[in-house]
């Protein structure tokens, strides 16, 4: 049973506009959340993370928002650039476990 869900398999956005990627989780013990970006034929690369003690974390064009009561997080990319075209994975972990649980991924395509 998947504990982290990314319900949108794909997203298409125009260059310069905002990309919003969503992620839902079911395990209330999760207290650390990450986003990874993956290009074809490469390994996932870490993008941004957030601890459950925060509700927002920003790094340049990337901002992650966490809504613990709704068990929902989102990644905002502003402005979107062609190099942002990739698969984005949401992941979560809890302090008592060794593993990350990943969502199925969202493929973002940025149109010129």
């Amino acid at each position: 049973d998947q504990q982290v869900k990314q319900n949108s398999p794909s997203l298409s956005v125009q260059e310069g506009r905002i990309s919003i990627l969503n992620c839902d989780y079911t395990n209330s013990m999760f207290d650390y959340f990450l986003w990874y970006k993956k290009y074809p034929a490469e390994g996932p690369t870490f993008l941004i993370s957030i601890s459950s003690i925060k509700d927002k974390n920003e790094d340049g064009r990337f901002t992650v928002f966490l809504n613990k009561s709704a068990k929902h997080l989102s990644l905002h990319i502003v402005p979107s650039q062609p190099g942002d075209s990739a698969v984005y994975f949401c992941a979560a972990s809890d302090s008592n476990d060794y593993k990350l649980s990943f969502g199925a991924g969202t493929t973002v395509t940025v149109r010129a």
Binding site: P44, F46, D97, Y98
Partner: protein, 112 residues
């Protein structure tokens, strides 16, 4: 980039043959992980290691075994490969198990 290499990068094998994939790190990270990536499933943990000779199962461990005799090397073995093990395999490392993991470039395995 974290110093993680995987070998081989591509492999084609036949059903019933044994296969070993190697992950090598130069970061001296304590924790190492093997994941497989399949469409619609994201990344799923196969096995992980929390130190030399210390390993444990992940969520999809059936048909796989691992060994870690040195800090820098983590081997994944398919004792008798099956077509359902056709996948892309990623190794990851981390210093703290619950937080950011860094991924290798992946091994694409095709079992005929």
């Amino acid at each position: 980039d974290a110093g993680i290499t995987q070998s081989p990068r591509h492999k084609v094998t036949e059903t019933g043959t044994p296969v070993t994939l190697r992950c090598h790190q130069t970061e001296n990270h304590r924790y190492m992980y093997w994941y497989r990536q399949d469409p619609g499933h994201g990344l799923r943990l196969i096995h992980y290691s929390y130190g030399v000779k210390d390993t444990d199962k992940g969520e999809v461990s059936d048909g796989y075994s691992v060994s870690r005799s040195k800090t820098e090397d983590f081997l994944l073995t398919l004792e008798s490969a099956t077509s359902s093990q056709t996948s892309v395999y990623f190794c990851a490392i981390s210093t703290v198990p619950q937080e950011t993991q860094y991924f290798g470039p992946g091994t694409r395995l095709l079992v005929l």
